[in-house]
Symmetry: C3
Subunit: 322 residues, 3 copies
């Protein structure tokens, strides 16, 4: 694997998911988890650049790198490091460094670069062009991993695919992505990315959301959309809840009249579905306490699987590049 | 040891102090200080969460973890990570994550979690209930170490007990905790915790402070209080200076008419007492230059002992849990 | 080597440059780069204190320390850690810690301390006295490395000397330091330091700048100054561009009437000179795109050499002190 910025970078999705599961298995039984390629005298360096804040992505990716014997250097680049992404500009404004130099310099020190960058939610064209990630990737000379970009969150989606693979009870489970309420305008990245990965898996995918919450057509073409949340839940094996702001009226908070909170009563419509969410989650807004606190809820296992997903991705990249 | 949030978590105080002293001894003689339980192929992970800023606690605890071959990940959680601690709340306000998920998620990545959280100094009931620490501990699934909480600072107090043990010249030294002036409202945590640990040691403890600086009764019950600082200093072997704001008129800055600064002249009343302070210290407000710059002053040795105290605590916890 | 705060700390400049080059050579060929003195059971600790923001200095110095098997702890000390540098002060203002304690405490945990501290650009006397760095160094009990101080940036200059050594085509190359425009008031540190190091090398050094951009006399005494940029460029083997604010009218932004931007057309006056800049660089203000994007440009090699320069310095200091 050369980069990991979307599902399209992955040569063998099935193999990557099973690699993560085998890392998880080894971890539980405390077998050695160090990559045989790692070398204490020549450790590889993972540099993580956070243009936006991060908790679980940072913890899980740092840990994955350390598991592999890598040196990990994390930098909060959110304040003060203003980068110019346009070519040919006279840089006499507030941007002190061009992405050509920024990406080129970090590449001098890193064997792999991770980047987190959120959308503007005001400039749809720019966000969906993934200007920050793509420009950084273009000018970096080492592999780039997305730690969540403007429109995608592939490390989360790989984790979700791993979690579903580990807990499916039928060959072709019904997986429902349901929109849920939230007081803030959130990116569409987790939803876009989840749909992209589920389409590549052997699952029955249904996306349910109120009118106005339609995702970008390039993601949901050929995907079953159901505007009736209760109907969508019927027979579901996995309920994946997530809020996102409007794609069509870009960045607007969607406030449907009906109650879209995931409740225990709605979960009773399913085939004893396992509840999933990428976290952080607002209790009793996105989902009721009763659902989160039920033993069948998978949110902590998802969080744990982030580590193995990141480790699988790093191993694939290191195996290719070292 | 399961957790380390107060002296009550410690099964054998004497043994813990001597463990820290033996780590210190090994360190000086450059013998191996790596825990035999540590395993380079399965390193344990220490996650330190700072809800409040930290310099020496962070440096010393990170170093202690690294000494033990642990992977250490520190996160400044002070800005932006607003956590809900109440159960059953509809989370439609400014708090994006509930402590149930916050503690549960960090537990997925950490073998030990360290938490620093300061008091509000406005809500005494909440501070003394240690809501943040106790809720985090309740919902974490791995051991929790206090890096200073609202009302206690046990890593500092263990350090102080180690320092006194190493420098006592008599079987039962006289230890004086003296209040000292400060322009800001400071927590009572260091003072509460010091009293708690000294009560468990074979020392003659005297607490001296102006009227209005009384500590919480649960800490100073059965402790000798002396409102006359000079009288308290007579015959002392250790002078431990610290400012704290009012417990009774909660959070108020105490401004006595008399001068409570520790001076060389006052130190002359003691039995050649060693001066101690947890740092940072305001020179010529808390204590005169002459006292700090005297070779008998123990502040840097206290700072150094923080490392060995943290390492002893981590070793005890790792030995129990791995 | 005891410290590394300016060229005057270096016993053998030639040897240090060649040490960096040999580390670089070993790195390229993936030979072991671990210092034989390093010991996994007793790793040395490098504490980096950033009183001002840093990207490439932090990345390169952290990586250099990790290359040597050191434990590296970086702290952003820019916000909240206000330090008193004057002796004898009654510390009842906003400064919570004296440099005596700050440096003394960090020395308890560190085997080597790195410090970054920028100038005020308003108080020339204080900046050129290097109060922060010198006071920290005075009260530290372990070696101190400058990560750029108020008036010097020796890690950058060592890097530049290494880069020139590796790319010179004649025994005595012509090296031109040219002032360049910038919209902000920048320190003189890189320029001062570059001049200081080049004077110690076997090069023909020319400094070119507009009137008003004169550097401090202690640096440019006996240095060839040329106010005509085009004339300075003639026959140059290396063009080193850098903006700095006024030393004489301290901290003022210099805005000459002529265009001082380094252009491809000006580069054509040279002896096929290699372009150098410490980065970050403002494109089309300091230097044209065409110059930066030309394959002969050395900026990324300079960035990479920062790692080897820092590693050479750390090795010299560790060899002396451990």
């Amino acid at each position: 694997m050369n980069h990991f910025t979307s599902i399209h970078d992955v040569p063998n999705i099935e193999a990557l998911i099973h690699k993560a599961l085998s890392i998880k298995h080894a971890s539980v039984f405390e077998s050695p988890i160090v990559n045989p390629k790692s070398n204490i005298q020549n450790p590889k360096t993972l540099v993580l650049l956070f243009f936006n804040p991060s908790l679980r992505t940072r913890l899980s990716t740092e840990k994955a790198g350390l598991n592999l014997g890598m040196n990990v250097i994390s930098m909060n680049a959110d304040a003060g490091w203003k980068i110019e992404f346009e070519d040919g500009v006279v840089m006499d404004g507030d941007k002190a460094e061009h992405v050509r130099e920024a990406a080129g310099v970090v590449s001098q020190y890193a064997d792999v670069i991770g980047i987190r960058t959120f959308p503007t939610l005001t400039d749809r064209e720019r966000d969906y062009a993934e200007v920050v990630l793509r420009q950084f990737q273009k000018h970096a000379t080492v592999p780039v991993i997305s730690l969540e970009s403007a429109t995608l969150h592939p490390l989360q989606s790989l984790t979700d695919a791993v979690t579903i693979e580990a807990h499916k009870k039928t060959a072709r489970p019904k997986v429902v992505l349901t929109w849920a309420p939230h007081p803030r305008a959130l990116p569409q990245a987790v939803a876009n990315s989840f749909v992209e990965w589920m389409k590549a898996r052997d699952v029955e995918l249904v996306v349910t959301h109120p009118p106005g919450a339609e995702l970008a057509p390039q993601f949901v073409d050929n995907v079953q959309i159901e505007y009736n949340q209760r109907k969508a839940f019927e027979g579901a094996d996995f309920i994946y809840a997530k809020n996102w702001s409007s794609y069509t009226d870009y960045g607007r908070i969607i406030s449907p009249k009906e109650n879209w909170t995931v409740t225990a009563e709605k979960m009773a419509l399913t085939n004893q579905a396992r509840f999933m969410h990428c976290l952080p989650v607002r209790r009793n807004v996105v989902v009721e306490d009763a659902v989160l606190d039920d033993p069948s809820c998978l949110i902590f296992e998802q969080a744990k699987n982030r580590e193995f997903a990141a480790q699988a991705v790093l191993e694939e990249i290191l195996n290719k590049h070292t």
